[in-house]
């Protein structure tokens, strides 16, 4: 497939934002149970939510560049019964709304006790919004990934590993961002967040390696024989019917060399996993520079990872476009 930068930025930016929100609420939950020191709520949760919101808006903005008619985008919310894309279109603004409210609750210090848990733990609006946001963050990961995983014709995507990797890689980049952000706003949480960022990065490596291994062993279900319905083992295309390009020759081919593809694969394998792990480990004690570098390197790697994710998918329609003339 042809990797579209609008979609690459959409999925990586909102993935990092979802991970960042999950990191914020994880820290809040630990702090509520007195497992972590209470950070400055205004600075860490409030501004952290704002940062997540900025990433979500940027991602949503990028997605509009993918559309031929952005002014009709509102129509995309109608077919949620059948289309994962439609579901994403509904869940993304809902998640943005909850992140906004969650940030506001912390920003304005709005903490009335709504009820008390059996252990005597007070529940305020931010806790309820945090739970709702967590559910929506996971729902959004599933919707985004299922857009690709639900397409049975694209064997490289049609796997539960696609969903697992969207969750793990978005989570890893979000927790790395949270660790870097905490170095400025809540230094007492840096060790906790950097630790979790490292753990999720390691899990993400396992998931991505598993999908790379799976994809390297795929056997295409369709062949030129089934594509044109002639059983002979030797069929060669003499012409695709036109000399110039068409949508079919642009949208479904990445147009890069095998060498470029391999270079990008190795770049993301290094930039998403081992490099951020080293930088996170060195920033564990609160060195802001290495934590910021960890996130930036990992995010750059995520752009390459997403590019490779699209480029690697081989669409069966390509069987019909193998020779110009």
């Amino acid at each position: 497939m042809h990797p579209a930068f609008s979609v690459i930025f959409l999925t990586t930016l909102i993935g990092a934002a979802q991970g960042l929100f999950l990191a914020l609420f994880t820290a809040q939950s630990y702090a509520a149970f007195k497992l972590l020191p209470q950070p400055d709520a205004h600075a860490f949760y409030g501004q952290g939510s704002l940062l997540a919101l900025v990433l979500l808006v940027a991602g949503l903005g990028a997605s509009f560049f993918h559309l031929g008619h952005p002014e009709r985008a509102w129509r995309a919310a109608t077919k949620w019964r059948t289309s994962w894309l439609s579901r994403e279109v509904i869940v993304l603004p809902a998640f943005m709304g909850v992140v906004c409210l969650y940030g506001l609750a912390h920003w304005l210090g709005w903490h009335p006790v709504l009820m008390t848990l059996p252990g005597g733990l007070p529940v305020d609006p931010s806790a309820i919004l945090g739970v709702a946001g967590t559910l929506l963050a996971f729902a959004l990961f599933v919707c985004t990934a299922m857009i690709y995983a639900s397409l049975k014709f694209l064997a490289e995507w049609h796997s539960p590993l696609t969903v697992v990797n969207y969750i793990l890689l978005g989570g890893a980049s979000g927790f790395s961002l949270a660790a870097a952000f905490a170095a400025f706003t809540a230094p007492e949480l840096v060790g906790f967040l950097a630790g979790w960022a490292a753990i999720i990065t390691l899990l993400g490596f396992l998931g991505r390696a598993a999908s790379l291994y799976r994809n390297s062993r795929l056997k295409p279900k369709s062949t030129l024989q089934t594509a044109i319905g002639i059983k002979h083992p030797t069929i060669t295309q003499k012409t695709q019917g036109f000399m110039g390009g068409s949508f079919n020759t642009r949208e479904f081919f990445h147009g890069s060399s095998v060498g470029a593809l391999r270079a990008i694969k190795w770049f993301f394998l290094i930039a998403v996993f081992p490099l951020p792990l080293v930088l996170l480990a060195s920033g564990m004690q609160g060195a802001a520079a290495s934590l910021v570098a960890a996130f930036l390197v990992q995010y750059a790697g995520m752009l390459a990872e997403r590019w490779f994710f699209f480029a690697q998918a081989n669409h069966p329609q390509n069987l019909y476009y193998r020779a110009i003339a």
């Binding site: 995309a76 919310a77 894309l85 014709f153 044109i228 060669t236 695709q240």
Partner: protein, 243 residues
């Protein structure tokens, strides 16, 4: 239930591209707007087409056959492009099974083209909406046309009658008979999309003449007589054999 479709006879198609140009001409002139071309006279021309004819060579030289393969939307009975559409712009008509795009609702997200294994959908660069074969829906129901003209433009253009049009759910229709009796098949059956369009395979054309076709075996009145034998000194038919 009606399911309109094309049946394309690969044994007859000569790859003349008449259906391609006829399709483009009809559909670029319609009320739905033009099928735009970009850079048509430049170095890298491109444009929207609903129908293409491709050419394949089957076998190894010298035992090869050239197969011309017309390719357009197959109007699947279970179209995978329809449920993925987020806006409902892509739909399959209940009354005749044609898969259509509502150009006023399409947001141009290209998701349906990813969900079609045949590559039957193209984004129109000029209108920025997804387009595909409509089976000339603005032609086949046009009561101002003569009944014999109420057929898709490609069918009317084909000089060898390689393209048949009709209801594949009506067992007595010409297309159903052709599918049944000439070994009609669907493309990429492995995906379970159940294309409505079918293709008729190449056939070997041989002529075998039996003796009783030259001379009636039951010839009680001897109306058909045997050909007179030439005399021994007369030239025979080919000078090498005698009767």
């Amino acid at each position: 239930m009606t399911q309109l479709a094309l049946v394309i006879d690969l044994n007859v198609c000569v790859g003349c591209q008449a259906c391609v140009t006829s399709c483009k001409e009809w559909n670029t002139s319609g009320s739905a707007g033009p099928m735009g071309d970009q850079n048509p006279y430049g170095a890298d021309p491109t444009g929207t087409f609903f129908n293409r004819v491709q050419t394949f060579e089957v076998g190894e030289f010298p035992n090869t056959e050239t197969v011309h393969f017309p390719k357009s939307c197959l109007h699947c009975e279970d179209p995978p492009c329809v449920p993925v559409c987020p806006t409902g712009a892509s739909y399959k008509r209940k009354e005749d099974g044609i898969v259509l795009v509502d150009y006023d609702k399409c947001i141009g997200c290209k998701y349906c083209s990813w969900a079609c294994p045949y590559g039957a959908r193209e984004l129109d660069e000029q209108q920025q909406v997804m387009k595909k074969c409509t089976l000339c829906v603005d032609r086949i129901y046009d009561m101002t046309m003569a009944p014999e003209d109420r057929k898709p433009s490609c069918v009317k253009a084909c000089p060898t009658s390689a393209r048949l049009f009709g209801d594949v759910h009506d067992p007595e229709s010409a297309v159903s008979v052709a599918i049944r009796e000439a070994g009609g098949y669907a493309l990429m059956p492995e995906w379970g999309t159940h294309p409505a369009n079918h293709y008729l395979p190449r056939r070997k054309t041989r002529i075998k003449i039996h003796e009783d076709e030259l001379e009636r075996a039951d010839n009680p009145l001897k109306v058909d007589r045997q050909l007179p034998r030439p005399a021994m000194d007369e030239p025979t038919l080919d000078d090498v054999t005698t009767w």
